[in-house]
């Protein structure tokens, strides 16, 4: 399966989950996602699901505290001007978090499907213009650069006595200096790369050459099985609950 095929399957699943499907439609989408997890992702699917749970769990706790604990009503009850119950609020938050868990899990499954690829290889395989691929690669590289810049600026400001290691009022007052130092550090690093390092090493043309996919086809291999199944499942998910209702 190609990354283009996997991302298309993921996008269709996410789009369908946003159409607010009923129980049958939801079951079809979950079954398709599970089939993708078992057949394509295999053992790594557990890692993807654990990551999705770790992302959504704090969100669920926050929303539970806010909407069940503080507001105590579901939005529909508020809109209708009804008295409202905490049980209805809990159901609403559970549904919303379930949908978010599904979306995050699908994203993680698609990413885990290509866990063996480096970010550069994954981006290279995507059907995007070379300029967009270049921006994505440089952005990922810059996030790592920013992390290093944060570490260096943080240590330097602690050594200078501007910030402290533990949480303190001094840190709150001078946090701006950290942001400024990180930005200047990142800009200086990028200036150095653009002016000296990249031209000498011919980095950008080498990057462009490595990002070009040449005559590679948009979809190939198992995409030809997964894409019709996904489109069929999407249509089924759209009509399944209507058939049940009529």
């Amino acid at each position: 399966m190609t990354p283009n095929g996997a991302f298309t399957v993921g996008l269709v699943l996410i789009a369908m989950s946003l159409t607010n499907p009923g129980p049958r439609g939801s079951a079809i989408l979950i079954a398709l996602a599970l089939a993708f997890a078992i057949i394509e992702v295999r053992g790594a699917a557990l890692v993807a699901l654990r990551r999705a749970a770790l992302i959504v769990l704090p969100l669920a706790l926050f929303m539970g505290l806010l909407w069940v604990g503080i507001v105590g009503k579901a939005p529909a009850e508020i809109a209708a001007g009804a008295a409202g119950t905490r049980a209805a609020a809990l159901i609403y938050v559970a549904r919303l978090c379930g949908r978010l868990l599904f979306i995050v899990a699908v994203v993680q499954l698609v990413i885990m499907r290509f866990d063996a690829l480096t970010p550069l290889q994954l981006i290279r395989a995507l059907a995007l213009p070379v300029a967009a691929k270049r921006v994505l690669v440089i952005t990922l590289s810059l996030i790592a650069t920013l992390r290093h810049a944060i570490d260096r600026a943080h240590i330097a400001l602690i050594a200078a006595g501007t910030l402290t290691r533990a949480a303190s009022l001094r840190n709150a007052v001078h946090s701006w200096r950290l942001i400024q130092a990180v930005w200047l550090s990142a800009v200086t690093i990028m200036l150095g790369r653009m002016r000296d390092k990249w031209p000498v090493e011919n980095t950008l043309s080498l990057l462009d050459r490595s990002l070009e996919t040449g005559s590679a086809r948009l979809f190939a291999g198992d995409d030809r099985i997964w894409l019709p199944i996904t489109v069929g499942a999407a249509i089924m998910a759209l009509i399944a609950d209507r058939i049940g209702a009529s």
Partner: protein
């Protein structure tokens, strides 16, 4: 339009949006701070408004693509990012000379920051409203949901509560973001800016 330095700027803006926005989201603060890179990208390309809009928009969407892995709410606000990029290019870019003036003219600087921040915030609140209300029923995972809950508790309807929350929260958030972007713009080395505009 997309010269190498500008592609770098887009990536820098995206990385800045992602880094600060993710920290704020995980801390559940009642602000966002996820567009500083977008605003800064536009300011660095002043006075070319078209380049400022396109590069700010690209930075915003590149960071959305990455932030969606951490914050599942964020990708649905893609149109808000377009609106922020547009207002920044049309309004905030006009204040670039004031933001970079040496010595700093504090009253003029403050007035421009507040004006640009409030305008960006109001537009952002209005564009985000349909997503907040119709897609998530007023329930989002950010700290600003506290404000929605507060307004609902005071007897407001959902639409009004989400709108009021946006109108209270977004202008404050955007004033802070314009202030941070303007201050970063002030300290950015001139040769980097010349490279971007050249």
């Amino acid at each position: 339009m997309f010269t190498t330095p500008r592609l770098i700027l887009i990536a820098l803006g995206a990385a800045l949006n992602f880094s600060i926005g993710t920290v704020v989201y995980l801390l559940k603060l009642p602000i966002y701070l996820d567009s500083i890179g977008t605003i800064l990208a536009a300011l660095l390309l002043a006075p070319d408004r078209r380049a400022a809009f396109v590069c700010a928009w690209a930075a915003a969407w590149a960071s959305l693509a990455l932030s969606g892995l951490v914050n599942p709410f964020l990708p649905w606000f893609a149109m808000t990012d377009v609106a922020i990029a547009l207002v920044t290019a049309l309004l905030t870019v006009g204040a670039a000379a004031t933001f970079r003036a040496h010595p700093l003219r504090s009253s003029s600087f403050a007035a421009q920051v507040v004006l640009c921040g409030v305008a960006t915030g109001v537009v952002s609140a209005v564009v985000s409203l349909p997503v907040v209300v119709y897609l998530f029923g007023g329930v989002t995972g950010s700290g600003s949901a506290f404000l929605v809950a507060l307004f609902l508790e005071s007897g407001q309807r959902l639409m009004n509560a989400a709108m009021l929350s946006g109108l209270v929260n977004d202008p404050l958030d955007k004033v802070l973001q314009v202030l941070l972007a303007a201050m970063l713009y002030r300290v950015t080395p001139g040769d980097f800016i010349a490279l971007l505009r050249g």
